[in-house]
Amino acid sequence: MTEKVLVIPCSGIGKPFGSIGRDATLRVVDELRPDKAETNCLSLLVMGDEEATRQVKGSVCIAVDGCPLECARKNIEMAGGKVAAHMRVMDLLRENRGLRPREVTFLDKDGEKLSAILADRIATKVDELTEGQR
């Protein structure tokens, strides 16, 4: 097992949800838990890149999906990885009905708020999973 938790977002590009998942993931790996979590390209993984495949097979993974199609989870599993936790932006939206993100390219205020909430949730999960590794 590698030490760091691998957080992989779907990075869907058609709706704000994919952008929120991606933004939250980058908050976690670059700002909140850089010592405990990392990410890699979903496409690299699926295209069979040797290093990425080794990484996904040797890591505890968190899938972050924007929409109900769950592409991140499916692709991680296709690449031979095991999903230890699954975060869905749609679930977060249901819990925060007052927030209505609309922008995809650059998140608007509501998108930023949802990203921050999701990032905290992912970071907490990273802590739990790394504790479990000890």
């Binding site: 977002p9 990075s11 869907g12 980058l26 670059d30 890699n40 390209c41 979903l42 496409s43 295209m47």
Partner: protein, 136 residues
């Protein structure tokens, strides 16, 4: 009569570096104003096996926009749907222009957004070329 074919643009997912963020933002800029008649395909969905996305890339000219030299979007389209109509490698463009990649992969500065606009202009040039090539 000239009939312009619909063109699909596919950004790589590009989570591992800020080149990927540029490819994603440039692709969105195409849809939001530079060439709004263009269609984007969702690469994760395409990779997960969605038949609609793959069929689109088989039937219509498609341009992958890859962040780095690994060219995952191009390889994926070629593997599952056939040859691409043209392609963009953001890392190669930055090398050609003598520009640095953005410092952050999450938040782009004004200068980075300007860089994304330049990449979008390159994508638009290829769209125009593809449509011109195929004028009826």
């Amino acid at each position: 009569m000239k009939i312009k074919p619909k063109v699909g643009v596919v950004s790589c997912s590009g989570e591992c570096c800020s080149h990927g963020t540029l490819s994603r933002v440039a692709t969105r800029l195409i849809l939001e104003g530079v060439r709004p008649e263009t269609v984007t395909l969702c690469l994760p969905l395409f990779l997960a096996g969605d038949s609609g996305e793959r069929e689109f890339a088989q039937r219509f000219p498609t341009i992958p926009v890859d962040g780095c030299h690994k060219r995952c979007a191009k390889k994926a389209i070629e593997k599952y749907s056939g040859p691409t109509a043209a392609d963009v490698d953001v890392e190669a463009l930055l090398e050609e222009w003598g520009e640095e990649a953005p410092a952050s992969r999450r938040v782009l500065s004004e200068a980075d957004v300007e860089l994304a606009r330049r990449v979008a202009a390159e994508i638009a040039r290829r769209i125009d070329w593809v449509q011109g090539e195929r004028d009826a």
